[in-house]
């Protein structure tokens, strides 16, 4: 099991004006090959106009166990949503 190629995550912009979106991953020895392979594996049917590849090892992600700590505080801050504020029906433009 020598020389396992690093894992790369593949992101594709499906059309101009949209953000790149994660579509999958692949192994390749270097960034150039990863890009070439991503083109063959993930864009055989005009799926994209641009590809990003990122070494999976370089991604820092939140841990599922931290979900409550990270995201629950937002639940008590409903005033961040415009619907929190009742507005008089007769006033327009709000």
């Amino acid at each position: 099991m020598k020389n396992q190629w690093p894992l790369w995550e593949v992101f594709i912009r499906s059309q101009h004006g949209l953000a790149h979106r994660h579509v999958g991953s692949l192994h390749a020895p270097d960034a150039t090959m990863a890009l070439n392979n991503a083109r063959d594996v993930y864009t055989r049917r005009n799926e994209g106009v641009s590809i990003w590849i990122v070494k999976a090892a370089d991604i820092t992600a939140s841990h599922p166990d931290d979900k409550a700590e990270l995201f629950d505080p937002a639940n008590s801050k409903v005033y961040r949503h415009p619907t929190f504020f009742p507005m008089p029906d007769e006033v327009k433009g709000l």
């Binding site: 099991m1 995550e9 991953s25 063959d40 820092t60």
Partner: protein, 332 residues
């Protein structure tokens, strides 16, 4: 993405039996609620192992599945058919890659899976151990084998494991092309000379039963079914899917003017399904055990491709290492 599935796996520690039961119960209730499991989430060991087996077998089937059809790429009857077949076989390579990636998120390495396939330790779908004797076989495979695969895979787009479900969505989109190009070949042959039509009938005769066997043993003999259904990594039973396939395919064969090679196939108005005859499960198990017409050849071809490509893979790594060294030297 699997950037940090190691973290997810390391955090399980060795919980006491009761807390493990609790975790499993919580895991099951999330699945019951339709919440997808992602790589970093806690999951029971058996769920992980079952999925690794299921997804890697599926990946191996896509890879080995290239061989029977690849056999006809250089002998396709026209440039158009050749280009289509080439695209179809390339898709199957892609399917294998999507699925290997999905399996890797569960903690098995690509090298391990490839090794398991090449040493004969891992299984792949038995259907690919049958030979492609004529061009009509390429039509029958697209129509029946990819047809059965779609039947099996569409429900899996809703399975509980996120990376597997997402891979299946991509695969299913592409399979529709595979099935149609196969039926298109059959249409052309059946509209051709009597000899061409006979070739189509012969291919149907040989691929019909193996295609029905693709759904696996009858429900009564299927070992892991109940647990896999509870985990939502199997959404219909083998016999349910097989019945759907028969119901869908018999009218398609009639349209071609072909006869399915089973005298017991008959519409049953009461059941609302076609009845069909008994499957020769002895043949199935015999092929699974390695005694099908092409088992040895398939593995030999895979191993040869892997060995023949070794110098190239090594060269790519050497180049990558050299470039990385140069970059560090320049930066210093």
């Amino acid at each position: 993405m699997h950037a940090q599935n190691n973290v997810g796996m390391a955090d399980t520690g060795s919980p006491s039996a009761s807390s493990l039961d609790e975790r499993e119960a919580r895991f099951q209730s999330r699945i019951d609620d339709g919440i997808r499991v992602e790589p970093q989430d806690w999951m029971p060991d058996r769920y992980r192992k079952t999925l690794i087996r299921q997804i890697s077998q599926h990946a191996h089937s896509e890879i080995v599945g290239q061989l029977p059809e690849g056999n006809w790429i250089t002998r396709a009857p026209s440039l158009k058919r050749k280009a289509i077949l080439l695209a179809k076989v390339q898709d199957e390579a892609g399917h294998g890659l999507y699925l290997y990636s999905a399996a890797e998120t569960l903690g098995i390495t690509r090298d391990q899976m490839v090794d398991d396939l090449h040493t004969g330790k891992a299984k792949y779908s038995s259907i690919f151990n049958y030979p492609t004797l004529t061009w009509a076989d390429v039509g029958a495979i697209g129509w029946l084998v990819d047809g059965s695969a779609i039947m099996n895979q569409i429900p899996l787009c809703r399975c509980s494991y996120g990376p597997y479900a997402r891979a299946m969505i991509r695969v299913c989109k592409e399979e529709a092309f595979h099935m149609r190009q196969g039926y298109d070949i059959m249409l052309a042959l059946c509209a051709g000379t009597p000899g061409q039509k006979a070739m189509a009938q012969d291919a149907l005769n040989r691929w019909w039963w193996p295609s029905l066997m693709m759904f696996g043993p009858p429900d009564g003999d299927s070992v892991h079914s109940a647990q896999s259904q509870a985990w939502k990594i199997k959404l219909f039973t083998n016999d349910e899917l097989r019945q759907k396939m028969v119901d869908q395919t018999v009218p398609q064969a009639e349209h071609l003017g072909l006869v399915v090679p089973d005298p017991q196939v008959k519409w049953n108005a009461e059941r609302g399904h076609y009845d069909y005859g008994d499957i020769d499960w002895e043949e199935f198990y015999n092929v699974v055990k390695g005694n099908g017409p092409c088992n040895r050849e398939r593995l030999e071809v895979r191993n040869k491709a892997w060995t023949d490509g070794e110098w190239f893979r090594d060269a790519l790594v050497a180049h990558a290492d050299k470039q990385a060294q140069l970059a560090t030297a320049q930066a210093a």
